[in-house]
């Protein structure tokens, strides 16, 4: 791995920005250079939201994702906006609720029940970002289990540690 450019897109309130912060934190534990940023509208929740993180062996100049190597979309509008014109090698992960248009296909593509896992298996919709982080690290395999757990625990509210570690595990389990 030399440089990963990761973009997580969905709806404001899903915690995807925190998701990218956790990935960045784990990157630092793995002695990488990281740059995490986000774009969102003025709404508190419900608007389109995008979190980005670059994880690199070398110092990072431009801090925004330009050629994503990994994209996750958790909402239909974000799929429409961010899952077009991607490099062939980019990995695309979507929630299984997303309707894939007939004219769309991609080589590295996975559809997983991320929202359903948070809602039903973990039992709390707010853990959808941590379920995502679990799945993403299983796919990209850039952080040790110990470091990703440490990163998660640094960024979840007190009293929710166990719940979130369960979410992380369930997320990883989705990826076979």
């Amino acid at each position: 791995m030399s440089k990963m450019e990761i973009r997580l897109a969905g709806t404001g309130g899903q915690g995807l920005i925190t998701g990218t912060i956790i990935l960045a934190e784990a990157g630092i534990f793995e002695n990488k250079f990281v740059a995490q940023s986000q774009s969102y509208g003025p709404e508190a929740r419900g608007g389109m939201c995008k979190g980005e993180v670059i994880i690199s062996d070398e110092k990072i100049g431009f801090t925004k994702v330009t050629k994503p190597t990994f994209v996750m979309a958790l909402s239909q509008p974000s799929f429409g906006k961010y899952c077009r014109d991607l490099d062939e090698d980019c990995f695309v992960l979507v929630d299984e609720s997303i309707v894939i248009p007939e004219d769309w296909s991609h080589k590295n593509f996975l559809s997983l029940p991320i929202l359903a896992t948070a809602r039903e298996k973990v039992g709390k919709m707010q853990t959808v970002n941590i379920v995502s982080v679990g799945a993403i690290n299983k796919i990209l395999n850039f952080s040790s289990e110990e470091n990703i757990k440490k990163a998660v625990l640094m960024h979840v509210p007190k009293g929710t540690e166990e719940l979130n570690l369960k979410a992380l595990e369930e997320g990883a389990r989705l990826v076979k």
Partner: protein, 376 residues
């Protein structure tokens, strides 16, 4: 080995302020600077400082100035709309010579504009936003680490020159999280204002001693009695209509910056030794330029970067020297051409000047810079 930490630009600004000795924050939160208020609300009480959320930006600027007059290093932070509101009190601090740091994390304007989108549209406002002839110091960070180190520098300059200093951040660095190596205590200089030894020896409050252009500053409660006013004032601080005093006072305020440029000016030069093209940029835009220069050099195009760290005062003399050696200077900034005006003023006909500016709320990409550099 020092530990790498993941930090956001706004968080680093808070930690830099605390390291510089800031112990008072007054503000009215606004995107994209809100994390500075949030951070100060948590951190100030932990270090024995005070945090206060005021009723608006005007009052928070006034509170920061008041705290500094009482002898405590102070800060306020805002973004475009709040920066406009703080201009009146900024001028008051210029004339009363009360040091403090005003952080402006720039967002797209005018007015409330695009609250969450980056911009560098407040550069000229940082120089001329408050009325009348006045001194201006404004620094611009390009990395999260600089949000820390330059914030300390802002406080040092404010204290040394008894003047407000503007920390002109932008959404790109303010909201960026990246690796930061925090310097340890003792690794950076801390400057404190000169306080008169005792009220008896103090003399008139605004009298300069020993040829200095900067009067000593007694905090409220020190025992020295003086008046503080935004009117032109005599050495004792009381208002005057004397044209001689008015002339001397305004000229001294400007001279205390202009005659200390060697101490104040800061900039960075990257790959300029053999460069044919110089990219003039600052703040978050410099990150795009760095990647652009890497790409251009890989194609054999000799490009480099001139990055003013102090936007005000502007390092024009050095830029003028560089403009004699290169074929063109490309100004890249997130506005419609503000530092461009400075570039044109100092470069004149020395070389060609190109411009790339953005006001749509998106970030200038390395590709856009590369394409502009290649334009015949």
């Amino acid at each position: 080995m020092k530990q790498m930490k993941l930090m956001q630009g706004n968080e680093a600004c808070v930690e830099g302020a605390i390291a510089a000795g800031c112990r008072f924050y007054a503000g009215y939160p606004i995107t994209p600077s809100a994390e500075i208020a949030e951070g100060c609300a948590v951190r100030m009480p932990q270090v024995g400082g005070k945090f206060i959320q005021m009723e608006d930006e005007i009052a928070s600027c006034a509170a920061a100035i008041g705290a500094s007059a009482a002898g405590v290093k102070s800060m306020t932070a805002t973004s475009g709309p709040g920066f406009s509101l703080k201009q009146e009190n900024l001028g008051y601090a210029c004339l009363t010579e009360i040091p403090f740091v005003l952080v402006d994390v720039q967002r797209a304007g005018p007015s409330t504009g695009l609250p969450t989108s980056p911009s560098q549209g407040d550069v000229m406002q940082a120089r001329w936003g408050t009325h009348g002839d006045h001194p201006a110091i404004a620094l611009s960070p390009s990395t999260v680490e600089e949000c820390y180190t330059l914030c300390i520098k802002c406080f040092n300059l404010a204290e040394k020159y008894r003047t407000p200093v503007i920390f002109l951040m932008d959404e790109i660095v303010g909201h960026l999280r990246e690796n930061v190596e925090i310097p340890e205590e003792g690794e950076f200089e801390i400057v404190n204002r000169t306080v008169p030894a005792s009220p008896a020896e103090a003399g008139p409050a605004y009298a300069c001693k020993n040829g200095s252009l900067i009067p000593e500053m007694a905090p409220f409660g020190h025992g020295q009695r003086y008046n503080v006013t935004g009117l032109i004032h005599a050495a004792d601080g009381f208002p005057t209509n004397s044209t001689e005093i008015a002339d001397a006072q305004v000229k001294r305020l400007v001279a205390k910056i202009e005659e200390n440029l060697d101490d104040i000016l800061a900039w960075e030069e990257t790959d300029l030794e053999d460069a044919e093209v110089c990219i003039l940029c600052y703040g978050g835009t410099a990150r795009s330029a760095q990647s652009a220069v890497e790409a251009l050099r890989a194609e054999g195009i000799r490009a480099g970067i001139f990055r003013p760290i102090t936007l005000w005062p502007f390092p024009g003399k050095r830029l003028e020297e560089i403009s004699r050696k290169v074929k063109k200077v490309l100004v890249a900034e997130h506005n419609n051409g503000q530092i461009l005006l400075e570039a044109e003023r100092v470069i004149k006909n020395n070389c060609r000047i190109d411009f790339i500016g953005k006001v749509d709320g998106t970030v200038i990409t390395p590709d856009e810079i590369v394409r502009k550099v290649k334009e015949a």
